[in-house]
């Protein structure tokens, strides 16, 4: 078998990947928790964000980590506008319509990217892409370590926003009691748009953290979103701690399966767990009973 150091390294690597998964799942679970819809455009928006990171790097030489500063507010604004002016008006108040609108959006975004960038796979060549950090016996990828720290930080900030600020409380209020929220003067359409914007902002951060070690092509988002769905179901639909812990756990599972079964079978563990969760605990780890 493998030495403990290799297994430990696989676990830590899994945690680092998992943190970025968690960030993607966070956006998905937040939108689900408040709007009660699965946002099918999540993957396409992640792809768009990754292309945005690539584009500002190629055009202006902007470092992907610095790109967090302009891209996060940009994607927040984009998400806000999409919900307020496209999804909201097109849904006419029915959830099944929202589902179809987001599905349509994802097709439109993906094909726009395909038309604009072709289907080539692109990468960034940063000087730190392959740098490693020595942590005791472990050799860790520096950009993935940064990704881990940043993802945990963003989750904590989001948690603070939701629990401490009036905007966050309004989001949680709308999630459970729309009429009550209107009657205290909360603008529900605005809160929906803010929530969707936050979901997109999470994607922008995730894209910036991914790009130093990953590649982008117009279909890349789907792979991540499939994993993110699993995390959201595992953690409990709408739960933020669930998304973080679920993400970390799934990252470790994928990494260990990759180690023991070979890289190409890494994801098999994820989907085995998905099936197990659906069988044993359909509400997820932190999910409320329906």
């Amino acid at each position: 078998m493998y030495s403990p150091a290799i297994i430990a390294e696989a676990v830590v690597n899994g945690l680092m990947t998992g943190a970025v998964y968690a960030l993607i799942a966070l956006g998905l679970t937040l939108v689900y928790g408040v709007l009660h819809i699965i946002n099918f455009a999540h993957g396409a928006l992640l792809t768009a964000a990754m292309f945005a990171v690539w584009a500002v790097y190629v055009a202006f030489g902007l470092d992907p980590y610095l790109a967090i500063l302009p891209l996060t507010p940009l994607f927040f604004g984009l998400g806000y506008a999409v919900q307020r002016f496209v999804i909201g008006p097109a849904s006419h108040g029915s959830d099944s319509n929202i589902l179809l609108v987001t599905l349509g959006l994802s097709i439109a975004i993906e094909n726009a990217l395909l038309a604009g960038f072709r289907s080539d796979t692109r990468t960034l060549n940063t000087d730190y892409g392959f740098q490693v950090v020595e942590l005791g016996p472990l050799l860790l990828s520096k950009p993935r370590l940064i990704g881990f720290g940043a993802a945990v930080l963003v989750t904590a900030l989001l948690w603070l926003l939701l629990s401490r600020t009036d905007t966050g409380k309004a989001i949680r209020a709308v999630a459970k009691e729309k009429l009550g929220a209107s009657l205290v003067g909360i603008d529900v359409a605005h809160v929906y748009a803010v929530t969707f914007g936050l979901g997109c902002a999470c994607l922008a951060v995730a894209a910036c953290l991914l790009m130093p070690t990953f590649y982008v092509n117009p279909r890349i988002g789907q792979a991540f979103v499939l994993v993110a769905f699993t995390i959201v179901v595992l953690g409990g639909m709408g739960s933020i701690p669930g998304a973080l812990l679920g993400g970390l756990f799934i990252g470790v599972v994928e990494s260990l399966c990759g180690l023991f079964l070979g890289d190409s079978l890494g994801q098999i563990g994820i989907f085995l767990i998905f099936i197990l969760v659906l069988l044993v605990r359909p509400t997820g780890l932190f999910g409320a009973k329906a």
Binding site: D166, K169, A170, R172, A173, A175, K176, E177, L179, G180, A181, S182, L183, V184, G185, I186, D187
Partner: protein
């Protein structure tokens, strides 16, 4: 304060309110009474901007509320405590109250919070508890407390006594009198005819979307038709 003129409203093609005229003056308790399904909740939804009126006019403080969003209606101080409480079950009692001042009264939030806790000591005891775990009576207190947090200039209470034990119903009406004693005008929308007529100064009886009867509480109470239909006398 509140002036409603020939108000018509409904859902889709179905008209529920078929021309209502109503007024609430400063310092008054006005009761709108009626049994299930006559349009009481629809009236409240229109007044709080959740449902658009088809026709007619609503004036609050002389300004028209027609087409105004519910957020702006709250901002103007017309606060609606809805039927079924509609509190935020997943949030703590304190957070529920804090959100009461989301649109109005935010600057004096902590002072108003103290005031609500003084009025409802039970809510202070349970301030950290999730609102969904409160008893029915406590949830009703919370809903009214949340309304008080917005410093209402007129309070609409929709079925505040619904689902409460007789003792709590007594307490609820005592509270309504006390709030009104502090100068707050109240529009009380109720099924409980006897007790509502005891504390209201004027009353309207709503039947099938029109006011079948209106006048001082005294007049309404002594109306032979009302006695027969609602009081079984």
């Amino acid at each position: 304060m509140l002036e409603v003129r020939s108000l018509r409203a409904g859902y889709g093609g179905t008209e529920v309110l078929r021309g209502l005229d109503l007024s609430v003056g400063a310092g008054e308790i006005v009761a709108v009474l009626g049994s299930n399904g006559v349009g009481k909740t629809t009236l409240n939804k229109v007044l709080s901007g959740v449902l658009r009126a088809n026709d007619g006019e609503i004036l609050f403080d002389g300004k028209t509320l027609s087409g105004t969003s519910s957020a702006d209606i709250v901002k103007a101080g017309l606060i609606h405590v809805p039927e079924g409480r509609k509190i935020f079950p997943n949030m703590s009692v304190r957070e529920n109250l804090e959100l009461g001042s989301y649109r109005r009264g935010r600057n004096r939030r902590s002072a108003n919070l103290e005031r609500v806790f003084d009025t409802f000591p039970r809510l202070r005891e349970r301030s950290g508890q999730a609102a969904g775990t409160l008893s029915g009576g406590e949830q009703q207190m919370l809903a009214i407390g949340r309304g008080m947090m917005a410093e209402p200039r007129l309070l609409i209470l929709d079925e505040p006594s619904l689902g409460l034990s007789p003792l709590l119903v007594e307490e609820m009406f005592a509270l309504i009198r006390r709030l009104n004693g502090e100068g707050l005008p109240i529009l009380l929308v109720e099924q409980n005819v006897v007790q509502s007529l005891e504390c209201a100064s004027r009353a309207y009886i709503l039947e099938n979307g029109v006011f079948a009867l209106s006048g001082s509480a005294e007049q309404v109470r002594n109306d032979p038709e009302l006695k027969r239909a609602y009081l079984g006398m």
